[in-house]
Amino acid sequence: MKIFIPCDTAAVSVGADAVAAAVAANEPGSTIVRNGSRGMLWLEPLVEIEIDSVRHAFGPVQPSDVPAVLAAATADCAGSDLYLGATDSLEWLTSQDRWTFERVGIVDPASPEDFLAHGGLAGLTATMKLGPQESISRVIESGLRGRGGAGFPTGVKWQTVAAAEATRHKGAPAGSPVHKYVCVNADEGDSGTFADRMLMEGDPFTLIEGILISGYCVGADTGYIYIRSEYPAAIAVMQRAIELSRERGWLGDSILDSDFSFDIHVRVGAGSYVCGEETAMLESLEGKRGMVRPKPPLPALEGLFGVPTVINNVISIASVPSIMARGAAGYANLGTGRSKGTSVFQLAGNIAQGGIVETGFGITVRELVTGYGKATRTGRPIRAVQVGGPLGAYLSESELDVSADYESLLAADAMLGHGGIVVFDDSVDMARQAKFAMEFCAEESCGKCTPCRIGSTRGAEVIDLIVRGVDTEANTELLEDLCEVMRDGSLCAMGGLTPLPVLSALHKFPEDFNLKVVPRKENA
């Protein structure tokens, strides 16, 4: 009997390891595969049992349920209360359009053979057949944009790096070797986001393949994956996958019998949120304090150690293999307007059915939150939804019909960010959330820009004064002014976007600040 029990951190956090131990004890002859998660996190630990090549899902399974589940699997699955149906027929999955996550939860993340058996390396093979320039055109044609939040077209970025000359490290003596690099940003620090982690833990070879495609297209020789230290399992899985890829000849010299040579290294973060900003990440990769760099120069021209560098988010770069394998046109046909392809939405916070929903851009936030998510976990009414992490705006319940894509959210004074959606019920105190946004900025600011470094602390104090009813009119104006200075006077999104959650809370939930109405400033 073949039994799949996820090794994903989310599944392990609610007992998947104990379930795996119970299965091994009860069914010693079975083959246990520790797969990634299918993304239905409220059902974890989700156990799948393969019967006649069909995987049947049971969940959530606790160790004490194991004997009954195993017994049901050998007789009639439906005899178990935990039986959900054949996994591939579950509506949560059939209604999605999985490209980036096509193998996550299905393959064994420790097995390069399994990766190959499920279409792995088809993207790289297609890329090498087309050649670098034609492949970059395909990536541009697919409409893929940066999934880290900035939304810059991935192919255009690659084009810039491909066109740049490889250079030697800044300050290196003449005659030193010249390089170009690919850096993958896996410093997924936004609250409410976990897609990077789940992809790395569930399908690490796809990320490696994406990096290889990028490196081949732009002419780079080395890739770095910068993973936050809060993700120990993802770090271990990626390191193992890199080792296995080297053994297989997928990394190293003459990859797939071509003249392309490339290697990948994992670098681990050290607990700084702002290192998720691309230039701060470069500083950290160079071993320094994670302080933001001014742009220009663009990292594409002067990036890591001063050489041309591709910086992509995990999801952006891991989307490329499926685009190259399945066709750019098919990907570009999904989505809406200039937001083409699929987005990997992450349903989080106070939500009944949290997890991963990969579908074309253009689905509404309401469909995600109440359709897939089935509203709050507590059963209380939804009051606010924060989209795009700690720097994203709070939407009120009445705004949830906004389409989840780059442009529509921007038009609603919000942002998509990394696709994380955090739901709050009616017990939330929005003044407290606004104050937290300022406090978080104060804690995590790199300190380079004064509005971010000091404005955040002042902002938290001013919110306190407003809530306490001290000189509210003047202090509200002061808060708005402060937010404007932070927005316009900070180099990166940390200080620049902290005003988004603060002002959205202030304008949409003034009663929580003990205010009646807060008029929106014309230019705010």
């Binding site: 951190t9 989310a10 392990v12 956090s13 609610v14 996190l41 409220w42 974890e44 490290h169 997924e188 620090g189 936004d190 609250s191 409410g192 986001t193 976990f194 982690r197 230290s229 809060e230 993700y231 120990p232 399992a233 670098r267 681990v268 973060g269 050290a270 607990g271 700084s272 949120y273 950290s284 990769l285 160079e286 071993g287 320094k288 304090r289 994670g290 150690f305 992450q346 349903l347 989080a348 916070g349 106070n350 939500i351 949290g354 997890g355 976990r377 507590t378 924060q386 700690p390 994380g420 955090v422 739901v423 709050f424 019920d425 939330v428 959330q433 937290f436 978080f440 804690e443 995590e444």
Partner: protein, 165 residues
């Protein structure tokens, strides 16, 4: 840990005690370009913190000033200058966990910690996001991820670790 606390390294061992050991640990890594942070991380992982003597050794081996080493050491919240407790409880305090009661959990856990684990080597700190945002409140007890955490579950895990030690 708040920034205030990590600004001042507290030396608990005499300077130079680990010097020979540190030089062996860093012998290869220090030769790589831009490895200052990784050298600090290696010592932090090995000792549980970066010993005072490490600052001098790393500065010399990586050919950077003490100020630069100290600057990097104090920038990153993972890097410690004091030894770790036997059990570290890290509670997520970010938005997704706030929405399912992380503030209440923190309050209740601190109360439980002082009543049940008084005098034990247990430290509690805040972390922003463990990437388990659909199953909050999230916690990390040493290296174990805990979803839908409660004071009872945390207490049980802490007790298990203390019993094994």
């Amino acid at each position: 840990m708040s920034k205030k606390n990590r600004d001042k390294p507290q030396t608990t061992r005499p300077v130079g005690e680990h010097d020979a050991e540190i030089r062996v640990l860093l012998a290869e890594l220090c030769l790589e370009e831009g490895s200052l942070l990784r050298c600090l991380q290696l010592l932090n992982d090995h000792f549980g913190f970066v010993p005072e003597s490490g600052i001098g050794a790393i500065s010399e081996l990586c050919n950077v000033s003490r100020a630069e080493t100290y600057g990097v050491l104090t920038y990153y919240s993972d890097l410690r200058t004091t030894p770790r407790a036997q059990v570290s409880v890290r509670l997520c305090g970010a938005e997704a966990c706030q929405s399912v009661g992380s503030r209440e959990l923190e309050h209740a856990w601190k109360h439980k910690q002082s009543s049940d684990f008084d005098g034990e080597s247990v430290e509690t700190s805040e972390v922003f996001c463990l990437g388990n945002c659909a199953l909050g409140p999230s916690a990390l007890v040493n290296d174990q991820q805990i979803g839908r955490a409660t004071p009872e579950i945390l207490g049980q895990r802490v007790r298990e670790i203390l019993a094994k030690a």
